[in-house]
């Protein structure tokens, strides 16, 4: 062949070729877009602070859900402990911490439900009462929806653990789930500050 006659210049050898993991990039992208989504709801909340035309007003009916917040934030720590245990291969310890995480998340949802029950039946605040109700229920409800989705995924992993399907191989996957959970917690910090500190 004619091309064989040309002596090609030898290209440099690639020493190392490390690329970021797909799961991490994917979950970070998801978190980025969710952040944009939440920030619009937060912006709407801040925009409508003090613009309600009729009672009830936030300072009359809202009290900061301290216990809820502590539960949700501490669940971020327990989920890290769980993933660390799975990485070390202690499936049983993982299961335990995972269960604690789930219970803490469930407590948060139950607390929110109790708060809403009080607001609706005691203070007569619904989504259509005034602008406060509109923005409060949509922002907090949106966050609660994300908590619910997270809890469902945590529950699926829990069932798989109980069935003995989970092993060290899935440590990466559970860590990705924990990143989502951290995101949900971080959003709660923003929502808490907006609704119960600035908005009151």
């Amino acid at each position: 062949m004619a091309t064989a006659a040309v002596s090609p210049i030898v290209p440099p050898v690639h020493a190392q070729w490390n690329l970021p993991r797909r799961g991490r990039a994917g979950i970070l992208a998801l978190i980025l877009t969710e952040t944009a989504f939440f920030s619009i709801f937060v912006a709407a909340y801040v925009f409508y602070i003090g613009k309600s035309l009729s009672p009830p007003y936030p300072r009359d009916v809202l009290s900061p859900p301290i216990v809820n917040t502590i539960c949700l934030l501490s669940s971020s720590i327990t989920i890290v402990l769980a993933v660390r245990a799975l990485r070390a291969g202690h499936t049983r310890v993982f299961g335990l911490w995972w269960l604690v995480t789930f219970m803490l998340g469930l407590e948060f949802l139950a607390g929110t439900a109790a708060e809403w029950y009080g607001l609706i039946y005691h203070d007569h605040l619904t989504i259509s009462t005034n602008l406060f109700g509109t923005t409060f229920y949509s922002l907090v409800g949106l966050h609660a929806m994300h908590v619910t989705i997270g809890l469902i995924m945590i529950l699926v992993v829990m069932l798989l653990t109980a069935g003995g399907h989970l092993s060290r191989r899935y440590a990466e996957h559970t860590e990705m789930l924990s990143w989502y959970w951290h995101f949900v917690d971080a959003v709660w910090v923003v929502v808490f500050t907006t609704v119960y500190v600035i908005g009151r």
Partner: protein, 282 residues
């Protein structure tokens, strides 16, 4: 057949793993759509959609857990080897004869542009004042009209008012005329070396006609009151006066070398033997 291509053929596998086709994501998407569509149709649609969404999600999960489903695709015989339609590539050295020659090797200094702008500005102002005296018997008329581009109330003023001296209008007109003359002069200094043939004709006639045309077409829409005041034949004459004088001044000044034809390393004053023969590398 060379040895190298034999080796590369051995490296080609017989089969390649590709993700197995699956309908579950589609079913999940249909379910989600129906769940939404139920809001505007009927509760039943939402219910069916929710069931489909759940089924799709479970099925999808089954596709990737505990191990993602794959199938093996047989490798087809390799496509034709990569060859160029034309093997030889021409490389141009900077400054070589040919189309890159247009790249200005010599330019006018910026001072030439500034001088041209000043000279052209004086000629233009002179012509404009002559027009004012001939047409309205007052040297201030055209000056006030120029100021009217920035001072809206002047455009509506009577001809008598426009013929009178107005210190504020005079200052505004002076600033506008001075800045624009300088800037256009600078532009001439930069552009004229690029114009291939007869820079005086381009700078003196073509360019003024072009922008006079644009102004003539657009001023009617932008500012019809001002447009009615402008005597366009004199306007074009003033522009050409500016263009010719500025172009002459620029074209007569001495050119300076740009050193663009020298390699980058040489322009930077770096001794770089052995590098010059390749593409210029710093």
């Amino acid at each position: 057949m060379s040895e190298a291509s034999d080796q590369s053929r051995e490296r080609v596998p017989k089969t390649v793993q590709v993700p197995a086709p699956t309908a579950w994501p589609m079913i999940a998407a249909l379910g989600l759509t129906m769940a939404f569509a139920g809001l505007v149709t009927s509760f039943v649609v939402s219910a069916v959609g929710a069931v489909l969404l759940l089924a799709g999600a479970v099925g999808w999960f089954g596709e990737v857990f505990p191990q993602q489903h794959c199938e093996l695709a047989e490798v087809e015989p390799a496509a034709a080897p990569v060859i160029a339609a034309r093997a030889a590539a021409a490389r141009l050295a900077v400054g070589e004869q040919g189309h890159r020659g247009i790249l200005p090797l010599e330019i006018y200094p910026y001072s030439a542009g500034i001088k041209g702008g000043i000279a052209g500005g004086f000629v233009m102002a002179g012509l404009a004042v002559i027009h004012g005296v001939l047409a309205h018997g007052s040297p201030w008329y055209t000056i006030n009209i120029l100021a009217a581009t920035a001072m809206a109330n002047l455009a509506n003023a009577s001809t008598a008012a426009l013929s009178a001296f107005d210190p504020q209008a005079f200052m505004v007109a002076l600033v506008i005329h001075g800045i624009v003359s300088l800037l256009v002069g600078l532009l001439y200094g930069v552009m004229l070396p690029i114009v291939p043939r007869n820079p005086i004709f381009f700078g003196g006639v073509v360019a003024p006609l072009l922008w006079s045309g644009i102004l003539y077409a657009s001023l009617k829409v932008i500012n019809p009151v001002l447009d009615a005041r402008i005597e366009w034949r004199w306007f074009v004459l003033c522009q050409i006066g500016f263009g010719v004088v500025a172009g002459l001044v620029v074209a007569r000044s001495e050119r300076i070398h740009t050193f663009q034809h020298l390699p980058f390393a040489m322009r930077m004053g770096i001794e770089a033997p052995g590098v010059m023969s390749k593409r210029e590398r710093g």
